[in-house]
């Protein structure tokens, strides 16, 4: 009886429709926010920021984006890496062309640009589904990487073909460039991830979200209740692209600092984010966080075990790491296809009954 719903009555429909209708969940959520905003920034160091927290937060945004498209609207995409690249190159062009404008403007703007591009690549979804759509988005992935490599305008004609983020600050705090402090990187990503999660949650609980899910579950029935499939799919591509673009912009400007498109935004990124969404749970915002945490922490954890604990050579450990994470993903997909979010729901159902299982 640690976890309970009884005694928790909703007296209005608005209350019943809250993000966390159960008080206990709500308190836990506030506690997480308090730790994230008020504790971690004061104790974080470079290692934890770069190895764990910053990539986790940024991938969580990308996973939320892909989850909206795939988990909520049922449209498969293998273009996430390329779409993140759009965000990255958009923010690069913006921050170099308009150095005086705040990053708080540039990053969402890069998201909007990505939203437009992704919507364009979403057009085939009006005709094709499933496997064929996946192949079409895969083509988008390769096309975008090729484009950013091929057209020097995108990387400002730099000799290396790389893009690198100049130093920019927000209210005097440096958030990009080599002089950025760990806590500042963490904070800027935390702010964006919090906003992204709130927006995604709001969209998915209202009428837009129901249109997406209707299309996902049965497009014929969706049409019969008045959903325009074209609008529903394209809004999903747009919103998804917005978040993925923001993730790409932060990944390049705050996390990497310098990037080469094929290396940083290749097909492996597309799969990585897709795994996060599948492992975390399709159609769940919480699952997007869980999946991102799992995929970011797993290699860190394995590396610590293999190299730190067992003292194996790093290259052997790196290869083993691939095998183990690949294996775990397969095991996971077989044992719990609904992801970590479902495990969490089941755990809560158990807790509600504990210690009387019947």
């Amino acid at each position: 009886m640690f976890y309970r719903e009884s005694g928790d009555f909703s007296t209005t429909y608005a209350e019943d429709n809250q993000t966390f209708p159960i008080k206990f969940d709500r308190y836990r959520y506030y506690a997480v926010l308090a730790v994230a905003f008020l504790v971690i920034p004061f104790i974080i160091n470079d290692y934890w920021a770069n190895a764990v927290f910053v990539p986790f937060l940024i991938y969580a945004i990308a996973a939320i984006g892909l989850n909206i498209l795939t988990g909520y609207c049922g449209q498969v995409s293998l273009g996430t890496g390329g779409f993140m690249a759009v965000g990255a190159y958009a923010v690069y062009k913006l921050m170099t062309a308009f150095p005086e404008v705040s990053m708080l403007v540039h990053v969402p703007l890069a998201g909007l640009i990505t939203a437009g591009v992704v919507t364009l690549f979403g057009l085939p979804s009006l005709r094709i589904k499933g496997f064929y759509l996946a192949v079409a988005t895969l083509a988008a992935q390769f096309f975008l990487v090729w484009l950013f490599n091929k057209v020097p305008w995108f990387y400002n004609y730099s000799a290396s073909g790389q893009i690198s983020a100049p130093e920019r600050d927000v209210i005097g705090i440096i958030i990009t460039g080599p002089n950025t402090e760990a806590w500042a990187k963490y904070m800027i990503c935390l702010i964006f991830v919090t906003l992204a999660a709130l927006i995604a949650r709001n969209l998915t609980r209202g009428s837009v979200g129901r249109k997406w899910m209707a299309i996902r579950d049965m497009d014929i029935a969706a049409e019969i209740i008045g959903v325009n499939p074209m609008m529903a799919k394209l809004t999903a591509f747009a919103v998804s692209g917005f978040f993925i673009g923001i993730a790409g912009a932060l990944f390049f400007s705050v996390y990497l600092g310098a990037a080469e498109v094929g290396e940083s935004f290749g097909i492996d990124k597309s799969f990585l984010v897709l795994f996060m969404v599948i492992i975390g749970g399709l159609g769940s915002i919480f699952g997007s966080f869980a999946g991102a945490a799992f995929m970011v922490l797993l290699p860190v954890f394995l590396k610590n075990v293999f190299v730190g604990l067992l003292g194996w050579p790093t290259d052997l450990a790196a290869h083993l790491q691939f095998i183990v994470s690949g294996g775990l993903i397969i095991v996971f997909l077989i044992l719990e296809p609904h992801g970590l979010a479902q495990l969490w729901r089941l755990a809560k159902e158990k807790l509600r009954l504990w210690p009387f299982p019947h």
């Binding site: 009428s207 129901r210 014929i220 969706a222």
Partner: protein, 273 residues
């Protein structure tokens, strides 16, 4: 043609039937070589319960699919509220106030009963993306207002106890009821029901008949329904269209139809020439 065409009559049980709401004129629908509907005309009046009956493969579902915009007939015209309707997509038809259920249930299996019924309100929900993003003002108010309407329908159809259950877990009879709730949530002017009682036991059929009658009576919903159970059809409907092999072989009150020789032949399986 029969005496009741054109509407404006009073039924035996004293309900007033209004003007013609929908008129199908000389509809022909082909699938390649198969002619599913052959030159059929009939009308539906405001406030009426109109049944479409006929043996398997007669073209009944195809007719509903023409009304709801899934198929565009090769020949013929659809008139709605006195206007000729251009070819339309199903979602455009829905926005004109026509809702339906399917012969094989078409619910959103991944969503709860409540969410499924809420999707029925989508044509009434107008809050923009931005308002929904911040969930303040219009979006929140609209959600609550529509939830109230949906809860009334949930009460009406007696599915309160399962409102948070995922639809995938429900037995067949309840799924049919949830699908009806979703269609009703749209507050349609015209409700199309494709075999709402197929596969139900006597008790479930009685419940469903009761719901259909009170929908028509309390909300004034015009209903067109396909049904195989003759007893149900004769009890519920004001007028009946009979189809066989894509053709209309009868049209009139249940009594007219019951005494029509061609209809009797079709149901007894008299050989076609």
């Amino acid at each position: 043609m029969n005496a009741l065409t054109g509407g404006n009559y009073t039924t035996a049980d004293g309900r007033k039937i209004g003007n013609t709401m929908m008129e199908m004129k000389n509809i022909t629908l082909r699938f390649g070589g198969v002619v599913a509907i052959k030159d059929i005309s009939f009308d539906i009046n405001e406030g009426e319960i109109r049944a479409i009956i006929g043996p398997n493969g007669a073209g009944k579902s195809s007719m509903l699919n023409v009304i709801s915009g899934f198929y565009n007939p090769q020949e013929g015209e659809v008139w709605f509220h006195g206007k000729k309707r251009p070819p339309m997509r199903p979602y455009q038809v829905a926005r004109q106030g026509i809702a339906r259920t399917f012969q094989n249930i078409a619910l959103f299996e991944g969503m709860s009963v409540l969410d499924n019924v809420m999707t029925g309100r989508l044509t009434h929900m107008k809050a923009g993306m931005l308002s929904q993003m911040i969930w303040k003002g219009k979006a929140e108010a609209e959600e609550t207002a529509n939830r109230e309407i949906v809860e009334k329908i949930i009460d009406f159809l007696e599915i309160q106890a399962i409102r948070k259950t995922p639809v995938g877990r429900l037995p067949y009879g309840l799924k049919k009821r949830v699908e009806l709730a979703r269609a009703l949530a749209a507050e349609p002017k015209l409700l199309l029901l494709d075999e709402p009682m197929a596969g139900m036991n006597v008790e479930e059929k009685e419940d469903m008949s009761r719901f259909i009658l009170s929908m028509n009576d309390e909300f004034g919903t015009t209903i067109a329904l396909i049904e195989h159970d003759m007893g149900v059809v004769m009890d519920l409907s004001d007028r009946v269209v009979v189809m066989d092999y894509g053709k209309k072989i009868g049209d009139g009150t249940p009594d007219d139809v019951r005494n029509n020789q061609e209809v009797i032949d079709a149901y007894l399986g008299v050989a076609h020439d």
